[in-house]
């Protein structure tokens, strides 16, 4: 089992299967807040649900309201279980923290390169690690 170190954004621990997006993501306008399905036209993961996934993407984008949108998704049970960013920015950071979703970034290796959709991983944000479980 491989353990990759990163840096903590939002504390907590979660296990789940990886969903990768090479495109940046906006939680406000880009994701249906009731279903967790990505709705942005032409987005790499358009039509895919982020619910209960370990969501791996470069960084957030769009309106700062995205932080609150993520909070709402968590309350409605359609948010990701954990977030792994290449380089986090304030919208995702604030959203993850207020929603109690573990989040890490700046991994030793680019997660978009070594992770694959469906891989089982464990994100331990308190120790700033990502563990590949299978």
């Amino acid at each position: 089992m491989e353990i990759i170190r990163g840096r903590k954004i939002s504390s907590g621990t979660a296990e789940g299967s990886v969903l990768i997006s090479h495109d940046p993501l906006s939680f406000f306008g880009g994701v249906n807040p009731e279903t967790g399905i990505v709705i942005e036209k032409g987005h790499e993961i358009e039509g895919v649900s982020i619910k209960d996934k370990v969501l791996v993407f470069p960084h957030g984008k769009g309106s700062t309201v995205g932080s609150y949108a993520l909070y709402r998704m968590k309350k409605d049970g359609v948010s990701p279980k954990a977030i792994v960013n290449v380089e986090c920015e304030p919208i995702v950071a604030v959203g993850a923290i207020i929603s109690n979703i573990p989040a890490i970034h700046r991994l030793e290796q680019n997660p978009l390169d070594f992770l694959r959709n469906g891989m089982k991983v464990r994100v331990d944000a308190d120790h700033a690690t990502l563990e590949v479980l299978d």
Binding site: P33, Y68, A69, K75
Partner: protein
């Protein structure tokens, strides 16, 4: 604070600040003396934002330093006359009362420095609202990054902010000299200057040379415009602004034709105006006095909003300006403005003296825009024609 010993709201706020410090490579947090919170309009916050705020208030969140709010989505008292629907008003009032529960002053204005939230030179503060940030850094000499709504709120609830960017003297150094050869007269001219400079320099920090003793209103206009069209959180004016900076070697000039070009880009073709809005940023008492003088004895035929802080409107009432303005049919829009109120579809052509209002009028509300002097705007309100 981070361990939760001071409650969940403080713990979450500290986590936000520490994460932002991580993102921006801040070495520490710094104590602050003032906060301006954006993200107040229900139009922007939505139900998700309201829920989050209510949860924080319920968990005992309390502001630690003087904190004021950005404009809301409506006049908190006179919303019916301004055509806001009741459902929106109920939610907006909930948002405001939730902020009040946290000990935040419900002055909803983009000009907090005019209504008692006025830091001093060298103060570390955490402000949102790009025009106010630029005013605080450049004109007052206080130190603040451009905060978002949640990060400003977190700063208010802890009295701290990450120490990076505009909090470091070095990062406030001018990066390009701007030789102003253009003639500047009106408030709108300073908006056009901000447009021209912003388009040329992007977010580089300008050192303006050749500007003589501008008024508060002209500076407010320049701050709003340059932050909107360029993105810099600070600029320097030779012999006027209080920050010391080495003078950069890179030099650009702004000529009369640059201003003409800026006006051309901000003006659409239509001459039939159906909405006139002044006060972006919010009108000062002196601007309201001038508007009253121009409106005396006249009747307006188009919807005419004078956007200002409620406290400034009260002063205008005491001085008799408000009576003259209301007698003409023009309306005060306190606590709000043309950029954050839900106005899409209600009007087609906006007339204003603000370069920033042109940007948001087009971008947020799909208005065509006309920009000019106070007198041009008042005349348009009376005749419906832009001249």
């Amino acid at each position: 604070m981070l361990d939760g010993s001071e409650g969940y709201a403080v713990q979450k706020s500290m986590e936000i600040l520490v994460a932002l410090g991580e993102i921006f490579s801040a070495e520490k947090l710094v104590k602050i003396s003032s906060v301006q919170v954006a993200g107040v309009s229900y139009h922007n916050l939505g139900d998700a934002g309201l829920e989050y705020l209510e949860n924080l208030a319920k968990l005992g969140a309390r502001s630690q330093v003087i904190t004021t709010l950005n404009p809301a989505g409506m006049d908190l008292e006179n919303w019916r006359e301004l055509g806001i629907d009741e459902g929106f008003a109920i939610k907006q009032h909930k948002i405001i009362s939730t902020f009040e529960k946290m000990g935040i002053r419900s002055s909803c204005t983009c000009t907090p420095y005019l209504v008692g939230n006025r830091p001093e030179k060298g103060d570390h503060i955490a402000w949102s609202e790009s025009s106010a940030v630029t005013y605080a850094n450049s004109i007052i000499g206080a130190m603040t990054n451009r905060e978002g709504g949640p990060s400003a709120l977190a700063a208010s609830l802890t009295g701290r902010t990450p120490y990076y960017g505009m909090h470091l003297v070095h990062d406030r150094t001018a990066q390009a000299k701007v030789l102003v050869r253009a003639k500047l007269i009106s408030v709108a001219d300073y908006g056009a200057l901000g447009f021209a400079t912003g388009k040329k320099l992007g977010n580089k920090i300008p050192f303006f040379v050749g500007i003589k003793q501008p008024t508060l209103e002209q500076l407010k206009s320049l701050c709003a415009s340059i932050a909107t069209y360029g993105g810099t959180p600070i600029f320097h004016l030779e012999n006027i602004t209080p920050n010391h900076t080495p003078i950069p070697t890179e030099t650009i000039t702004v000529e009369n034709e640059d201003l003409t070009n800026a006006y051309e880009q901000m003006n659409d073709e239509s001459t039939r105006v159906d909405f006139i809005a002044l006060g972006c940023p919010h009108c000062t008492l002196d601007e309201i006095k001038k508007i009253a003088e121009l409106l005396k004895g006249k009747i307006v035929t188009k919807e005419f909003w004078i956007c200002t802080a409620r406290q400034t409107m009260r002063l205008a009432e005491e001085h008799g300006y408000a009576h003259v303005i209301r007698a003409s049919g023009a309306k005060f829009a306190c606590d709000t403005c043309m950029a954050v109120a839900p106005l899409k579809g209600r009007f087609k052509v906006l007339a204003t003296d603000s370069a920033k209002a042109c940007y948001y009028g087009r971008g947020t509300n799909n208005f065509q825009t006309r920009i000019g002097t106070l007198m041009q705007c008042v005349n348009a309100a009376v005749t419906g024609e832009w001249k």
